[in-house]
Amino acid sequence: MNGLAPRPLTRWIIGIVVGFLFALPLVSTLLFTLKDGDGYSLVHWTSLFDPAKAAVFAPIWVGLGNSLILAVVTVAIVLFLLAPTMLLIALRFPSFRRPFEFLVLLPITIPAIVLVVGLAPIYQQIGRTLGTGAWTLAFAYGITVLPFAYRSIQASIDAIDVRTLSEAARSLGADWFTVVTRVLAPNLRPGLLAASLISVAVVLGEFTIASILNRQVLQTGLVVVNKIDAYASAMFTLMALAFAFLLLLIIGRAGRPSAGKKNS
């Protein structure tokens, strides 16, 4: 029983006022996409499937494709580079935890627009060796998702006692590979899943680095198409926001295993 909680009426008033103000831009965008002359119809939405207009939407489809590839590679970096390192620190180098935490929270302090100034020469070199495909952006994206992915995975690591579990498994005769893949990873699934989904959301929404480094991703595609066909960018905006919202809802649900602590 929380004696601090506001009255239901207060909740409703705040909720309705703020909810209305925040829904306004989204509703406006939706209505905008439904505009047809002076009336409303689904003509813009159906034009998504119209082959005649395919050329207009091309930058978005290309960008989306690239973004999806980027998402996959970034998730791979998170799962196969970040997570194992975090496990290693939890198991072998617990004293590194604070410095490591400081390190992964740095990207919050170093704005993307600053980082990209320094990434430009690096990506010139990468362009010469690995090509100028958009997928190489994943290396930079892995850095930008670090704070988010770290929090999710670390919460999972803290919730299970990795040292005890691995010691128990080792005492029963398991080698390290088995310990990681069959004992630890299954228990870390909520954190790993949350980290992956958040990474996907961040990658899909990233604009700054891709734009300055001249790669085509979803967001840059939206900006390009917006100049030609504002309806297209509006529709894709709604779809992308809805998709990201669903992703985060899933994360919210997935991150509620029975091991949660409750405030009484």
Binding site: M1, N2, G3, A5, P6, R11, I14, G15, V18, F22, P25, L26, S28, T29, F32, I77, P84, T85, L88, P99, F102, L103, L106, P107, I108, I110, P111, A112, I113, V114, L115, V116, V117, G118, L119, A120, I122, G142, I143, F148, A201, V202, G205, F207, T208, I212, Q219, L222, V223, N226, A230, S233, A234, A244, F245, L248, L249, I251, G252, R253
Partner: protein, 313 residues
């Protein structure tokens, strides 16, 4: 159960110069048995060095060299140019204004959410929506605002047709600096909700009850206990919102396709044109200036946050 901690509080201040990350610990000569463990840290360390440390150093350091590779302070001095100063000033007041409004509105929303179950429908939806709008909206929010209060926007035409009010009578401000205010607030409020909700939830009902049993009133509770306890977290969140707005690029880039009234846009201009104000490598100097501002703010944020979290145990 609390353990006695009669001496100093937790160790604060690991932040020295965030612009250059701490180096990883030097390899000690330990037993061969743990040698492979150190090796395990190498891939990640190399990755972070190459894609975080190196770019940061390059970005900030490039401001200290001109195109011929000679050391120069000219670029840094260029930060004193009136145009650049105005840009920093614009970034500052825009960030402060949107941070203040975002913090206050966000705190009010957090209060409205107080006491609702964390896993209930309302909280999960608000958390997800806040996450989307705070972190991933950038470009798309710009489009949404153009659809709302742009020249042909829904609200614009509504005000015009319904009440004869032309909000753009004095010019298309939506594409200029003031046009950034509303979109920025739109992602500042959700960020505040994400950041401040834990602090508000940490207010213990026992404090409210103890206040009552000691003869205090409800409003007295907020005045003497609630607000003083929340003040550090509120201020810390405010700093975070400031840093967030100051660093923001995507929304501004999408709305103001030319022009560079704020620092991130100025960096864009510096990068895409060969020289700016007759100097090369100004982007680096701008990056340096930006990092200094953001780093100071973030250091203050983490300092206050750590002190405040002692009360949330």
């Amino acid at each position: 159960m609390t353990s006695p901690d009669l001496v100093a509080g937790p160790d604060l201040d690991r932040v020295t110069s965030p612009a250059v990350p701490e180096p990883t610990a030097p390899a000690r000569r330990g037993a061969v048995r743990v040698g492979w463990a150190w090796l395990g840290l190498v891939p990640f360390t190399a990755y972070v060095l190459l894609f975080l440390a190196l770019p940061t150093v390059l970005a900030v350091g490039s401001g200290l060299f001109d195109d011929d590779g000679a050391f120069t302070l000219a670029n840094v001095a260029a930060l004193g140019d009136p145009v650049i100063l105005t840009t920093f000033w614009n970034s500052a007041w825009l960030s402060l204004l949107t941070a203040l409004i975002g913090a206050i509105v966000g705190a009010i929303v957090c209060y409205a959410l107080l006491g609702l179950p964390e896993t209930g429908a309302v909280r999960t939806m608000v958390d997800a929506a806040s996450g989307v709008l705070a972190q991933f909206g950038g470009v798309m929010l710009a489009f949404a605002f153009i659809a709302t209060i742009g020249l042909q926007g829904l609200v614009t035409t509504f005000l015009m047709d319904g009440f004869g009010i032309d909000i753009f009578a004095n010019g298309p401000w939506i594409y200029e600096l003031p046009g950034l205010i509303l979109p920025y607030i739109y992602f500042q409020v959700p960020l505040m909700i994400i950041t401040f909700m834990p602090a508000l939830s940490a207010l213990k009902p026992q404090w409210a009850e103890a206040n009552l049993t000691l003869g205090g009133t409800s409003s007295g509770f907020w005045q003497h206990v609630g607000i003083p306890v929340l003040a550090p977290s509120f201020f810390a969140s405010l700093l975070l919102l400031f840093a967030n707005a100051f660093s923001s690029y995507a929304t501004a880039a999408a709305l103001a396709s030319q022009g560079s009234q704020i620092v991130p846009l100025q960096i864009r201009t510096a990068l895409t044109s060969e020289t700016l104000l007759g100097r090369e490598n100004l982007a680096g100097a701008l990056a340096f200036g930006m990092i200094v501002v953001v780093a100071i703010v973030m250091w203050a944020y983490s300092f206050i946050q750590r002190r405040a979290s002692r009360w949330q145990a």
